[in-house]
Symmetry: C2
Subunit: 343 residues, 2 copies
């Protein structure tokens, strides 16, 4: 199955890239720079706007979109515009997140705002946002009928709204000392999980899936997204530095409000002590003390339980969508692969 | 006819406001602040998020949208979601423009970024952008059939893309000493005219207009938008300060690259002298010299000619859309009123 997935990606990633390049471009010389900033962010141009093949994202969401199309019985290529739209939307959100978080690098390259300033970067991100919808419109040219296209656009639009709600909560929580576990789960439901859910739902509509199938697949993606983020949270603290490329306890050092930390911070036995630690400077010397409190709160087991619960709910939703084929489907295989990853 | 238009606005503006309020809200307490920033910008809340009825925009574009729906024979209320979408889109662009231009006030109130910071303001604008598409989706609930809705969404999406292109050019031109008249017209085609064109086109589709009618109305709006912006440019220099509320020669004082100024700046007889003047400090003492150069280049007449030409082209397009009813239509009346305004 691992080979089958690798083959699927090898078959479809180049076409996806071509589809995105078609949407994120203009033949008009006057606005070349507007599109070139987007193309830089996507890894197709370097900072002098010369062609390049630079580190890009994993294209995970569009792969899920294409697989959803195929698994409901559609011709995979029909979902290419939706897959492109999902990945463009994801990258729009990264361009604006980098501005909002003040991040100067992404994928070892300077961010768009760092190179061209906040005003042009905000507007370039807006262009990508608009072009994500333009990408969706191209489903009509692939023979997707009007009702399915409208349903896909509706899901896509709701996904966009959910993304901005999640980002709002994330920024708000950064400014607060105390955040509950439920608040955190609500935040990642918008910021991370909604887009995974949207990816498979629009793929399902493009592939001719029924509304019931698309909705079940959306739940699958939503739950998978939560499990994925929580797994990410675990790796951010207990991941093997040699595999993740990050320092041991990385997320604790930067006081990231991830699920394990919030669990211990809200735990009756460790909350006060961890709160006091986090109020001060956090460095390698204090890290063992913080990690000991996380262990006392059984934070890793708590988070692993939560990830497993959401993964199980994802698999239930997948079965609701695909019936007896669910367990042997490529969507199940991707889900298992995502949860088993160590980086 | 003036009374008829006033009556139309009185009949429909409250319903438009209600439609926008429905879209720009959420029943979820956790994300209240995200929506409250949008509602502040719209003039419905004050900066403490208490209900208010503060100075809002003129709602010009949604009125054009509703009129287009009515003039192609549709029931006006069917276009309300599209009119709301257009006005929300316009306001999204204002929230981001204020960030990009560093403007601290709008309509005599602090801008969103000034009150809540750039990160939350960028994201709040993104929320409005997404919700503008959500507003469009509500056309389905008003009985607009799928093909018309898809056509309207296509125009709406292209309009969004054009807006970002226009804003890109505007920012780029601010950084340049020399801009040609053609470059300027290309910029306002994206930044101002595209949205006016989009407004009437989506209204026409909502009202059951044919694609040919909608396209002709889009040209009408596009040309009207150009005429409107050029008229604005004229008033920005030669408007009566007692009517406009701005200083005489206001746009020259702030060296705004508007059509009259660019005409004189590119004119063989006045270009060099005006360029030299604009390279230095511009104040009330130097204003008469600059205005004399504009007079020498016949800049006001040039701009008035351009406005009249675009207005005539708008009227031609209106006739293509509405036939013999064009001249007596409310769209023609609004267009005449817009061009005759003195502030």
């Amino acid at each position: 199955m691992r080979d089958e997935l690798a083959q699927f990606m090898q078959d479809w990633l180049p076409a996806l890239e071509t589809e995105m390049q078609t949407v994120l471009s203009s033949g008009e010389e006057a606005v070349h720079g507007h599109y070139a900033m987007m193309q830089y962010h996507m890894g197709w141009l370097d900072q002098d706007f010369a062609p390049a093949a630079l580190p890009a994202g994993k294209r995970l969401r569009p792969i899920l979109c294409l697989l959803a199309c195929a698994e409901v019985g559609g011709e995979t290529g029909r979902a290419l515009p939706a897959a492109a739209a999902i990945e463009i939307l994801h990258n729009f959100s990264l361009v604006h997140d980098d501005i909002e978080d003040g991040d100067e690098t992404r994928r070892h390259r300077a961010t768009v705002w760092k190179l061209w300033g906040v005003p042009l970067a905000v507007n370039s991100g807006d262009g990508m946002f608009a072009l994500a919808f333009a990408a969706m419109q191209r489903l009509a040219g692939r023979g997707v009928p009007a009702p399915a296209l409208l349903a896909a656009l509706d899901v896509f639009t709701r996904t966009c709204v959910a993304l901005t709600e999640g980002q709002y909560l994330d920024m708000r929580f950064e400014q607060r000392s105390q955040v509950s576990v439920d608040e955190y789960l609500r935040m990642i439901a918008g910021k991370t999980a909604a887009l995974v859910g949207g990816s498979v739902a629009v793929g399902a509509y493009a592939g001719g899936g029924s509304p019931a199938q698309a909705q079940a697949l959306q739940r699958f993606g939503q739950e998978l997204g939560l499990a994925f983020q929580i797994q990410d949270d675990i790796l951010g603290i207990w991941g093997d530095p040699q595999v993740t490329g990050k320092a041991a306890g990385s997320d604790v050092l930067r006081k990231k409000k991830s699920l394990p930390l919030l669990h211990a911070r809200n735990h009756p036995q460790t909350g006060a002590a961890l709160g006091a630690l986090l109020d001060g400077e956090m460095d390698a010397a204090r890290l063992p003390q913080a990690l000991a409190l996380l262990t006392q709160a059984e934070a890793q087991a708590y988070a692993a339980d939560a990830a497993n619960t959401h993964f199980a709910q994802a698999m239930n939703a997948l079965e609701a969508a695909l019936g007896s084929q669910a367990a042997a489907s490529r969507l199940a295989a991707v889900a298992e692969w995502l949860l088993a990853r160590q980086a």
